[in-house]
Symmetry: C7
Subunit: 94 residues, 7 copies
C-alpha cells in the first residue's frame, strides 16, 4: 500500500468473517463493544514525544491485530475496507 499514515497512526485491513474462522477467536454478540480483527497494511513513523523524538511503533506491516469496534476512520480502496487508526487503539497482536 502506498498510503503513509501520519504519526502514531496505522492502516488496518478489516478481516471478514471467512478470514476470522482460521483464527478461532469468537467475539460474543453480547459484549457491549465488540472487538474486531484486521491486518496491518501500513504503519506511521510513530508518536512524537515532547522532546520531539519518535516512539517506534509496536506493530508492523503484516501483523494480525484486534481492535475496539469503533476504532479509526473507515475508507475503501478497490472494494476492500480499511481503517486508519491510532496504534493505541489496537488491543493486541494475534
Amino acid at each position: 500500500m502506498k498510503m503513509v499514515p501520519l504519526g502514531d497512526r496505522v492502516i488496518v485491513r478489516l478481516l471478514e468473517q471467512e478470514d476470522k474462522k482460521k483464527g478461532g477467536i469468537i467475539i460474543p454478540d453480547t459484549a457491549k463493544e465488540r472487538p474486531q480483527e484486521g491486518e496491518v497494511v501500513a504503519v506511521g513513523k510513530g508518536r512524537r514525544t515532547n522532546s520531539g523524538d519518535r516512539i517506534e511503533p509496536e506493530v508492523k506491516t503484516g501483523d494480525r491485530v484486534l481492535f475496539a469496534k469503533y476504532a479509526g476512520n473507515e475508507i475503501e480502496i478497490e472494494s476492500t475496507k480499511y481503517l486508519v487508526m491510532k496504534e493505541d487503539e489496537i488491543l493486541a497482536i494475534l
Copy 2:
C-alpha cells in the same frame, strides 16, 4: 496464549463462580460497581514514558487479579472468556 497485548495492556481470563469459591472473596451484590476476578494470561511490554522508555508492568502471567466490573474489552476463544484491559484497571493481585 499466543496473543500479545499492546503497551500497558494485559489479557485476563475471567474466573467463573466455581473458581472463585476457592479464594473466599465475596463481592456484595449491593456494591454499585462490583469488582471481578480473573487470571492474567498475557502481559504487554508496558507503558511508554514521554522519554520513550518502557515502564515494566507490575503483574505477570499467572497472577490472579481483581478488576472493576466494566474494565476491558471482552473476547472469547474456544468458549473461554477473556478481557483485554489496561494494567491500571487491575485493582489488586490476590
Copy 3:
C-alpha cells in the same frame, strides 16, 4: 492480608459505627458527600512517575484514615467489608 493493591492503590477495612465511637469524629448527615473512616490493611508500591520512578506512599498498614464516601471499589472477605482505593482518595490520617 495477602492481597497486593496495584500502583498507588491501598486496601482499607471499613470501620463500623461501634469502631468510630472511640475516635470522636462525627460526620454530619447533612454533609452532601460524607467522609468515612477505615483502617489501611494493604498498601501498593506507589505511583509511577513519568521517568518510571516510584513515589513512596504516604500511608502505611495500620493507619486509621478518613476518605470520601464514594471512594474505591467495595469487596467483602469473610463477612468483612474492604475498599480498594487510590491513595489520593484518602483525605487524612486520624
Copy 4:
C-alpha cells in the same frame, strides 16, 4: 489537632458568623458562589511533583483563610465543623 491531611490537603475550621464580624469582610448574598472564611488547623506535607519532590505548602496552621463555598469535605469533631480541602482551593490568606 492530631489529624494529618494527606499530600496537598489542609484542614480548616469553619468560622461562624460571630467570628467573621471581627474581620470585616462581607460576602454578598448575591454572589453566585460565596466564599467562606476559616482557620487552618492542620497542613499536609505538600503536593508531590512528577520527580517525586514535595512542594512546600503556602499556608500554615493558624492562618485565617478564604475559600470557595463548596470546597472540601465537611467533618465534625466535638460539635466543631471542619473542612478537609486541597490547598489550591484556598483563595487567600486574610
Copy 5:
C-alpha cells in the same frame, strides 16, 4: 490590602461605571461574555512549576486590568467589591 492571594491568584477591585468613563473602553452589551475592568490590589507569589519553582506574576498592584465577566470569586470589604481570580483570567493590562 492585607489579604494575600494564594499561588497564581490576584485580587482585583471591580471598577464601577464612573471609573470606566476615564478609560474610554466600551464593552458592547451584545458581546456574549462581556469583559470587565478592575484594579489589581494584591498579587500572589505566582504559580508553582512542576519542578517547584515560582513563575513570577505578570501583573502588579495598581495595574488596571480587563478580565472576562465570570472570572473569580466575588467578596465585599467595607462596601467595596473585589474579585479573587487566577492571573490567567486577566485578559490585558490597560
Copy 6:
C-alpha cells in the same frame, strides 16, 4: 494601542466587510463555523513553559490574521471592535 495583553494573548482589530474586499478571501456562509479576519494591534509576551521560559509569539503587530468565529473576548474602544484572544486561536497570517 496602549493595552498590553497577558501571556500568549493578542489583541486583534476586527476587519469589516469593506476591508476584506481587498484580500479576496471569501468565507462561505454555509461553513458551520466561519473564520473571520482581523489585524493584530497588540501582542503579549508569550506563553510560559513549565520551566518558566517564554515562548516567543509567532504573530506581530500589523499582521493580518484569520481566526475562528467565536475566538476571544470582544471589546470596543472609540467605536472600533477588538478581540482579545489566545495566539493559538489564530489560524493563519494572511
Copy 7:
C-alpha cells in the same frame, strides 16, 4: 499561496469528486464519519514543545492527504475551497 498557517496548522485544498477519481479511494457513504481528500498548499512552522523547540511537520506542500470529515475551518479564495486544520487531523499521505 501567501497565507501562512500558525504553529502545527496546515492549509489543504479540498479535492472535488473529479480529482478523486484518479486516486481510486472510495469512502463509503455508510461510514459514520467519512474521511475526505485534499492537497496541502501551505504548512506552518510546527508545534512548539514545552521547551520551546519546534517539531518539524510531517507533511509538505503538494502532499495529497486524507483527513476526517469535520477537520479544520473552511475558507474560500477565488471560488476554491480550503481547510485550515491541525496537522494531527491528517490521517494519511496518499
